[in-house]
Amino acid sequence: MARLIRTEKEVEGRYEEVWLVVEEDSLDQWPAGPREIVGRDAVRVDGRERATGQAVYTADLAKPGMLHTAVLRSPHPRARVTSIDLAPALALPGVHAAIGPGDIEQLTADCSFQGVAIAAVCADTLAQARAALRAIACEFEVLEPLLDPDEAVRRGSLLGEPRERSRGDYERGLAEADVVVEAEFRTQVVLHNSMETHQAVVEWTGEGVEVHISTQYIWGIRDAVAQGLGLPADKVRVVCRYMGGGFGSKNSPDDYTFIAAELARRTHRPVKCALTRREENTAAGNRNATIQRLTVGARSDGTLTALGGEFVNAVGWDGWSSGTEGPMQMLYACPNVKTTTYGAKLNLPPMKAFRAPGFVEGTFGLEALLDELATKLDLDPLELRRRNHTHEAPEGNEYSGKNLLECYRRAEPHWERRHDVRARSTATVKRGVGMASQIWYGGGGPPSYAWIRVGSDGRATVVTAMQDIGTGTRTAMAQIAAEELGIPLEHVTVTLGDSDRGPYATLSAGSSTTPSVGPAVRAAAADAREQIEEIAEQRGLKGASVADVVDVLEDAQILGKGARGPNPTGMQVLTFGVQVAEVAVDIETGEVWVERIAAVHDVGRVINPLGASSQIEGGIIQGIGHTLSEERLHDPATGRLLTTTLDAYKLPTIADVPEIVSELIDVPDSHLTNLGAKGLGEPPIIPTAAAIANAIRDATGADVRQLPISREEMLRALREAEARQ
């Protein structure tokens, strides 16, 4: 039965108070520990399709008569289009339509960041569309861009009001401190670089549109496209069966979907609009840069008395100011905390969510600061964190489940290695070990629904209009259904990725998919199982398995439905963890190698340990890129982007990967749903940068203060450390 509740909803760390229609979650949790299928390694149910190239991604779609699009984007960070003539483009062979500023809201003559869309052309082939684009005569008046985040704050160029968060008495806390440490940290712009670029194929069908799109949120696309095109939402069908990564950047339809829709409307053809890699690295979102001016005060025994921070998120022209202050507010039992967060509006491409937005950056600053404090107090960094551990949320409410101390305990053997690691240092290559803690959301929430059908062959099909961005959710859902029905995993098919075929399911972001959709799938499977058991009982087969009774069904099918119940009221549902990094630093060249990372995370029940270990490894590897090599650069004079290719932008390769050891606490969160499972997509990337920075300090005594830790930054920090002595 559905009912209405007033509750807080969290997406990517952003809370809003909402009315929600929810259904009861009446199933008891399974006991802790591996079961027949859930909690045991499963190979991806779609692994073969993906590996053999059979899986059809949006990039692979070729509809009959489909046209291809090229988009004219501003080469300038700030400029005004003074004249534009599309006629030369329209005259070229193969060209079907061209649109320019004002034709749709997404095309503009006022260019406020490099990459903003100005015009678009569609043609029979992509080569023709690109040739036509070059024929467009477009002139600009180039204007002075605003690029400096601090300058933006001074001038009041902000996205939203500054966010002030405070508890206790910060000033008094500082006065009570025996030691105060202040430091400024900076983090860079990082690009998602999903292997499949942002793209959509749009076709008008009868009264509506069909949108095939590489997306993390088919329902969000459906509603945004419906609104943008003035259509009822049920006239927009959104399909995404396979997608090549997203990492937070593919939650919205963006300019390319509306460009394709308008060109399709004008030409009566299906139109594909796919970003090139260079467009992807210009206009498809990024993890924004931050400046963090942080202060910590503590007693000589390490007890924190005050934490303060001024955070500047260099958001770009649009987006939102993420919770960079979140770790400082949430991680430790400090009574006096005061933070101010600014979102600087700049003539740079808009940010988008990127795997734990804000918390990756904020954890780097906070956890590096904590280690500077530990050094000053001559305290063991792990011990410092234990002393400031909190059993209840600093805001006063309870955690639904928290096993951070257990994470610390299991990290001890890795932490103990530091003596041996340091001993392997040479005159010029110094080695050390560092650690950092992790806090993040990941509880998911309602609504999400699933249907299930079981036929007389004993096979089940789960139908839910979610999407699998590569995290393995298809597999996890199949495991949950198979477990509940008591049938082999191979007998379950999961149908997803189509808003016309299945009920609403949440977005694949915010580490929310498994904790949101998983309980709905289990509820649907339980509904079907109960019906089957009743039929069995009528035949006198009590306690029979699903497989024993389905043969009487013939053409009949058992249909089950399930919904995600509410989150526990008044509780914070969070994920926790710790990582321990081992590094080597060449103190002559400034080169840094990560040699080993051990990760211990607490995300409640683990559905698929094999897939979970892959997610942890992937998060850590992205974290290593973020820490050491990745940086979107712009020319400080003109604001023009310098790193739009995969040659210039340094992603980690297989040769950059250290030994990675991962462990999950795997204890169900007893207050959370019928599964007790939380999400794991984001937690593993959060503490990596700080753990590496702290290992560098352990190895060399140098305080690195900015990401990426380039050789320049490493040598600067080494020189500074030398001057201090």
């Binding site: 993906r50 090549g244 990564g245 890699r277 892959s614 992937g618 850590i620 992205q622 040769a655």
Partner: protein
């Protein structure tokens, strides 16, 4: 032009400037070969041309007239596919066909590659999901 692709002979009519990736994906509808950067930086489009791994997005189809091409579609029964699936060596799967083609090229020349061999041979195939540890494991254990 003629190409032998996965053992079948095709007449290919690409215009001057057509890349091998375009000919495979668009003319022959062999979309298992992915294009992720289109400028030879990521390895997703790797195919074998006369047994050698080649970046098909920066290879002009006219330059390989008469060649024998193996794409992921031609490797469906190769044990490397099972090794990747078994080891969970893929996440989103978009780079995977290119990874597997590169891996097959490696083990054809060196059936039991060391970690060092794998890291060297596979460094040109980017995977943003970071499946690298499992890719290495798949290649180390490809013979089952």
């Amino acid at each position: 032009m003629q190409l032998t692709v996965n053992g079948h002979r095709y007449d290919v009519h690409g215009e001057v400037g057509t890349t091998l990736a375009e000919a495979l994906r668009e003319e022959l509808s062999l979309t298992g070969t992915k294009v992720a950067c289109g400028e030879g930086h990521c390895g997703a489009c790797t195919v074998l041309v006369d047994g050698e791994p080649v970046l098909s997005c920066i290879t002009l189809v006219h330059a390989v007239d008469g060649a024998s091409v193996t794409t992921i579609e031609g490797l469906r029964d190769h044990p490397m596919i099972d090794a990747f699936v078994r080891s969970d060596a893929l996440q989103c799967g978009f780079c995977t066909p290119g990874q597997i083609v590169s891996a097959v090229a490696l083990v054809e020349s060196k059936p039991a590659p060391t970690s060092e061999d794998i890291r060297h041979a596979m460094a040109g195939n980017l995977c943003r999901c970071g499946a690298y540890p499992k890719i290495e494991e798949a290649i180390r254990t490809w013979q089952g």
